[in-house]
């Protein structure tokens, strides 16, 4: 085990995979000499060669389209979208092509493609460097969507994504990059796609979250334990699609109370699916209505510090307070 932050865990895992298997290439804007805007691939163009670390033109649809072509012809491309906010021009290539090629060819063709996209806010990135995009893609059958929140999960899920025969959207919350550290196994470990993880055990209520919001939940849970003796179980979804409903429902059935927390705009967000699943499958186990906390329904996170803070936390300490209310309900 080595302690690392999330961005280092991603860098190390991707580096090792590339060193092991020359079918893997990294392509994206500024991944070459610049090493990516987050410096994940700094020095790799020299190490792996220009043919494997490919600076692309500024064109996301073409970038993903070209990567699909590579994946269709024996390579294992990792396409880096500089910021998740800039994935939208590639929406058609991802939805109509990557996600549908296996289905439409009746299983004849497959697209072993990983799309990495740094997402999420709270880093003073304003409207176009802060977005959450998981809800768009989790709804699309044919592509898997993962979003690790810890260094170990990031490394293990990235390796699993590269090994997966189907397209995987690998979401990296930028705020976890340096803020979150943790132990990562030295050896090549895979975290299975499609498995949620109980990050904190508890008995009074279940909190379901993912991404950076998970850490806010863990923090609130710790304080509630200390302040009020309330025991919160925190489930890290980790994979949005396919969603591990089993782990979520098991926990909710045990605690009888559930709160779902996510950073993205609340309405029609990924949390709606989780709440809906709990309501359909575990209603008679619930002692109180499910609580849902999502981001404000405004187009995206504003830049000015007071506005950004408001987006991240419209009421002070709202997760803590909603958990407390729920526990007492």
């Amino acid at each position: 085990m080595t302690e690392k932050n999330v961005v280092t865990a991603i860098r190390d895992a991707l580096h090792d995979e590339m060193a092991d298997d020359d079918r893997i290439v990294l392509l994206g804007e500024d991944v070459g000499n610049r090493g990516g805007v987050f410096r994940i691939s700094a020095g790799w163009m020299d190490e792996f060669g220009e043919a494997r670390v490919i600076d692309t033109p500024l064109a996301e649809s073409g970038l993903v389209g070209v990567a699909i072509g590579m994946a269709l012809h024996g390579m294992l491309p990792v396409a880096e979208i500089q910021f998740a906010d800039f994935i939208h021009p590639a929406f058609d290539q991802i939805v109509s092509e990557a996600a549908r090629i296996r289905y439409r060819s009746n299983g004849s063709f497959g697209v072993p493609l990983v799309i990495r996209a740094p997402c999420g806010g709270g880093i003073h990135g304003a409207l176009y460097h802060s977005q959450s995009i998981e809800a768009f893609f989790a709804h699309v059958p044919g592509i898997k969507v993962v979003m690790p929140a810890t260094p170990a999960d990031a490394a293990g899920l990235l390796r699993a994504s590269i090994a997966d025969p189907d397209p995987v959207l690998f979401l990296e919350h930028k705020k976890t990059y340096r803020a979150i550290t943790g132990d990562v196994p030295e050896e090549r470990h895979l975290v299975p796609i499609g498995k949620a993880d109980v990050k904190r055990e508890g008995s009074d209520l279940t909190c379901v979250s993912y991404g950076y919001a998970l850490h806010a939940c863990l923090d609130a849970a710790a304080r509630l334990q200390q302040d009020e003796g309330i025991s919160v179980e925190v489930v890290d979804v980790r994979t949005l699609a396919p969603l591990d409903t089993g782990t979520i429902l098991d926990s909710v059935r045990r605690t009888s109370k559930a709160i779902v927390v996510y950073e993205d705009n609340r309405t029609y967000g990924a949390g709606a699916e989780i709440v809906s699943t709990i309501a359909e499958e575990a209603m008679f186990d619930l002692d109180a209505p499910v609580v849902r906390i999502g981001g404000p329904d405004v187009p995206a996170m504003p830049f000015a510090a007071p506005l950004e803070h408001y987006f991240m936390e419209p009421e002070p300490d709202q997760i803590y307070r909603r958990m407390l209310d729920l526990a007492r309900a």
């Binding site: 993903v64 072509g69 994946a71 269709l72 012809h73 060819s105 009746n106 299983g107």
Partner: protein, 343 residues
Amino acid sequence: MSTQVASTPHGALGLSDDDLLSMYRTVITARLLDEAALRQNRMGRAPFVVPAEGHEACQVGTAWAMRRGVDVWLPYYRDGAVVLTAGMTPYEVFLGIFAKADDPSSGGRQMPSHWGHRELGIITGSSPIATQVPHAAGIAYAVRYRGEDAVVASWFGDGATSEGDWHEGLNFAGIHRLPVIFVCENNQYAISVPQSKQMAIENVADRAPGYGFPGVVVDGNDVLACYAAMKQAHERARAGDGPTLIECKTYRFLGHTSDDDDKTYRSRDEVEQARDRDPVHVFGEYLRANGVLDDVGAEELRAAVKGEIDEALSAAWEASDPEPASAMRHVFAEPGDPEGGSR
């Protein structure tokens, strides 16, 4: 014998009389297959068909320069004659038209003419226009990366050139000088939208210099001209000299698909005039004039092909439909599924 060959235009291109007869047979197969499919559509047995009529010369001419089993093909929906050249059989085409379980393109999941055939190196295509263009560039990148000798070709209509993906795909191919050929079958319409409302230029090929590689305009009704242009592009690609954009000027004789009524946007005069240069007749004339095939031979060939097509059609009609619940399969890989795609 080889001297005799070289004295004809096709001989000069390295094509023997037998080659020419095979090409012609493919052209005739495409035409008769279209007609048979359209009849099935009118009979209510085929809900949707996409005729290639008018495009046969440019499809067979360009496709003929590709190597079956070696090169990689990314056709679009109108490319019935391209996929026949690549090795698809009329039976396989009809399996698609009737949406049968054994349809090699999609097992009846996609509309007919959304080609795909892993064994033949025909990459699965979709409806959204021009999405295959960046795929072609990516495959060509992989071909070179893996040190293969293959050439990749992507076909598309004039309409496709307006899409952002077209621009992005050609640009990437140009930057990396990839072994890929872009073939535009310019029939002057994107469904009803005439070329003048699609672009302010006369030749799509004139965009190629903007991507750093040559663009060529050819008469799309002249099968040998199309072959010649493609052959040269193919050699360029294999030599490491990068992509070529070939624009074949042609015309679509029928509606856009069986759902279209082209009378709303084209005069009958215009269509009739285009038929004067029907590529099937032009090719037939060439064969007669060069003593490759006389009228009797042509009639015999036509009859033989017709027999084959009727047989293929009947057999395909009898084939099994997909199982309803199989609709749930192949969302993700199943154990034993092949990896990736063309190789």
